[in-house]
């Protein structure tokens, strides 16, 4: 019944089937892994979205941080509006920023203090903050509130304190309560006048004007810096410098 030929034939068949089963098993395993990966990614995306939705929105009006640090940073430096430094300083360093912008916050904390210490306090330059509102609907009212604080000689305290207590962008934290807390923390004396000023056409109009100016200069991001001095070629754009030293050199060059 089972001669040699038949046996060989059966053996070959069995081998072929085994290879098929092997490939089939590998395929099943790969598809199972794939399905598992799909499941993991779905879980990860859902978790990320849920965590993002629940995360603290920041900008806590009840609990302002670093009021004294801000005070000591700008104490004793003359201010006019949102200009910080000797009014007669030859070089003007202009920052186009958005109070809601996290990169501006980083610059205000890690970048400007060195320039204020080395150049502004020495009377070599003054820093002027101009609103370039690009983040969201609460950016412009925040900018006008800073200008209104500037009208009472507390503009830079307001800017610095706002940045140090900045919340998550467009999370709605920068409401009247938060702005008022920052103004009080910044040392604005006449809150009633500040309230009137910040909603008035003078400062809301100025926010629009400086934003348009930044756009017409071709600026695309915040913060963007520009410099003007006796040796500069009119208003020169510095972009977003990567080190404070770069700005210090630009100030030296322009004076």
């Amino acid at each position: 019944m089972s001669n040699k030929k038949e046996r060989e034939k059966r053996r070959e068949q069995r081998l072929q089937e085994e290879t098929k089963v092997d490939a089939g098993e590998r395929r099943t395993r790969l598809l199972q892994f794939g399905a598992g990966a799909v499941f993991l990614v779905i879980v990860a995306v859902v978790v990320l979205i849920v965590v993002n939705g629940n995360s603290e929105s920041g900008g806590d009006a009840q609990n302002l941080k670093e009021v004294s640090a801000v005070d000591s940073l700008v104490q004793g430096i003359p201010q006019e509006g949102l200009a910080l430094g000797d009014p007669k300083a030859k070089v003007k360093l202009i920052e186009y920023g958005d109070l809601q912008c996290p990169v501006c916050k980083a610059y205000s904390e890690e970048f400007l203090p060195q320039i204020i210490e080395n150049k502004v306090k020495e009377g070599k330059a003054k820093v002027i903050f101009r609103n370039f509102t690009i983040i969201g609907p609460q950016s412009a009212p925040a900018g006008a509130a800073a200008l209104a604080a500037g009208a009472q000689g507390r503009g830079w305290e307001f800017l610095e304190l706002f940045y140090r207590n900045q919340g998550k962008e467009n999370s709605g934290y920068a409401d009247d309560e938060f702005l008022t807390a920052v103004a009080k923390g910044a040392g604005v004396k006449d809150i009633a006048k500040w309230n009137e000023d910040r909603k008035g056409p003078k400062f809301t109009g100025e926010v629009e004007k400086t934003t348009e100016q930044a756009q017409s200069l071709g600026l695309t991001g915040t913060p963007s810096f520009a410099i003007e001095g006796p040796s500069s070629n009119g208003l020169e754009l510095l972009g977003t410098p990567s080190t404070p030293e770069e700005v210090e050199q630009a100030i030296d060059k322009a004076s």
């Binding site: 490939a23 089939g24 590998r26 395929r27 794939g34 799909v38 695309t220």
Partner: protein, 154 residues
């Protein structure tokens, strides 16, 4: 029986390589435009790209998210050059991760940042196409062996 109705693996690999190359281009543009504090230029006007590029979500641990995009697209491009199960699964897993990440980023754009950047949308669309292609490839060809090791460059 499935393979008959499917595009051949060589075709899939060629399209994957092409789309991944486009993705590398888009992600590289975003990375370059963003370096130095700028932002990608929005083609149809509007400040969406500026808002997105300036948002705190545009960087993870100081690294622009577009850099992760470049890495993903490069891996996807590489997997198109091999016809084995490792490449098929690596391509699928990378495209799946990229697709999931794109969903998250698009969610952020719409609901948190409230601004849309066309370049990010372009990348999300490319990643979606790559996910579909790589899934098709895995389902159609997992467990098979082919002799062609390099896609036809014609």
């Amino acid at each position: 029986m499935i393979a008959m109705k499917f595009p051949t693996e060589a075709t899939l690999r060629r399209i994957i390589a092409f789309v991944a190359a486009l993705g590398i281009g888009v992600a590289t543009y975003i990375t370059i435009a963003d370096s130095g504090g700028g932002a990608p230029a929005c083609l149809a006007g509007g400040g969406g790209c500026e808002t997105v590029a300036n948002s705190s979500y545009s960087h993870i641990a100081g690294v622009n998210v577009a850099v992760f995009g470049i890495i993903g697209y490069v891996i996807l491009l590489a997997t198109a050059f091999f016809a084995n199960d490792l490449a098929r699964f690596a391509g699928f897993a990378t495209a799946l991760g990229g697709f999931g990440f794109s969903i998250y980023l698009t969610y952020l754009e719409i609901f948190t940042i409230e601004a849309i950047c066309q370049w990010c949308v372009a990348s999300a669309v490319l990643m979606t196409i790559l996910f579909v292609l790589n899934t098709t490839r895995l389902i159609g060809y997992a467990g098979t062996t082919t002799t062609a090791a390099v896609p036809d460059q014609g």
